[in-house]
Symmetry: C2
Subunit: 193 residues, 2 copies
């Protein structure tokens, strides 16, 4: 078998791949729900999608990292690197992660390149706390969860997001439809579909 | 928008997803070449595939890790965790990584679960050194690359691999065909296609 250097790895210029849709927002804002719904729609259209969900990544890839500044940054860096790797192979990637700081998301954008799309999945703190799907807000209020975004740690909303979805005023299907339309438009513009 | 706990993340039992094909072997044995060829075939059949190539991962996700025992282990752990995450979403995953130690690959198998398939991409050290696609063997012989598998560090071949492909005695197309057949058989058996 002959092996040549060109076949050794998939070399594509940074950001030339499919979209990386980066969903940022408070816990309970609806990031994972929207990601799963978008994935189902895209897959039904024959478009392969990978989801990098913050909770899953914390349990696996980023096991052992904490919630201090450096560890949060490293967690985001790893997700961005994986997103870039997959996007370069033509997979659409949806990242669903609180990613509270602008600087962290700017780093992610730099790693991913021009394929990066920042989507603010927004709901007020009151709404997210009322939903409290994972019971984390109650625990954070009781002081049982340190550095919990929105309660004991800050969230910096994006200044110029590519899209904002307000989940207090729309249903899941609506939110997914809006994102799917944006995704189609981005993909067409990039020529990546 | 209502959010329920079930929609928060993709919860699938460990190892219930699509195959994770773990290609292990010396540098220059043909892992990346076979991975890319298999990916093209699978994609042509509408089967989404993600490649985790050791070289790419080293440049991105595992940037900053070295080649000592602990760092090599952490590098493999990260690849296995990402492979598992993607496999659980129904993507077939091909990992192409030297992954020289049995213990490292056993860890990867444990992380991935029953979807794990170990494939030994084999060529003799002499053959790999003669190919020397990346010029690394020459550099290792000159002592410029520390802990280079096969030269200054050991490679432990798998004891019970799911498949062995000897790339000194077959062409790329043949190797990819053999792997594609095995992949089809594994996928059918697991009911994951």
């Amino acid at each position: 078998m002959r092996i040549d250097a060109n076949s050794v790895a998939l070399h594509t210029p940074r950001g030339s791949g499919s979209c990386v849709i980066w969903l940022t927002g408070l816990s309970g804002a609806g990031k994972s729900t929207i990601a799963n719904s978008l994935r189902e729609r895209a897959m039904a259209q024959g478009m392969p999608v990978a989801i990098l969900d913050g909770d899953d990544v914390r349990r696996g890839l980023s096991q052992g990292l904490g919630f201090g500044h450096a560890d949060r940054r490293e967690n985001i860096r790893r997700m961005a690197e994986v997103a870039r790797l997959l996007s370069d192979q033509g997979l659409a990637v949806i990242v669903a992660a609180v990613s509270p700081m602008r600087e962290q998301r700017a780093m992610a954008r730099k790693i991913v390149g021009t394929a990066f799309r920042e989507v603010h999945v927004h709901a007020s703190l009151a709404t997210c706390e009322q939903r409290d799907v994972k019971g984390l807000y109650a625990r954070a209020r009781r002081g049982e969860v340190a550095k919990f975004t929105g309660i004991s740690d800050i969230y910096e909303p994006p200044l110029q997001p590519d899209l904002v979805i307000d989940t207090s005023s729309c249903e899941v299907a609506q939110a997914a439809s809006r994102l799917m339309s944006a995704f189609d438009a981005w993909s067409l513009r990039d020529g990546s579909r």
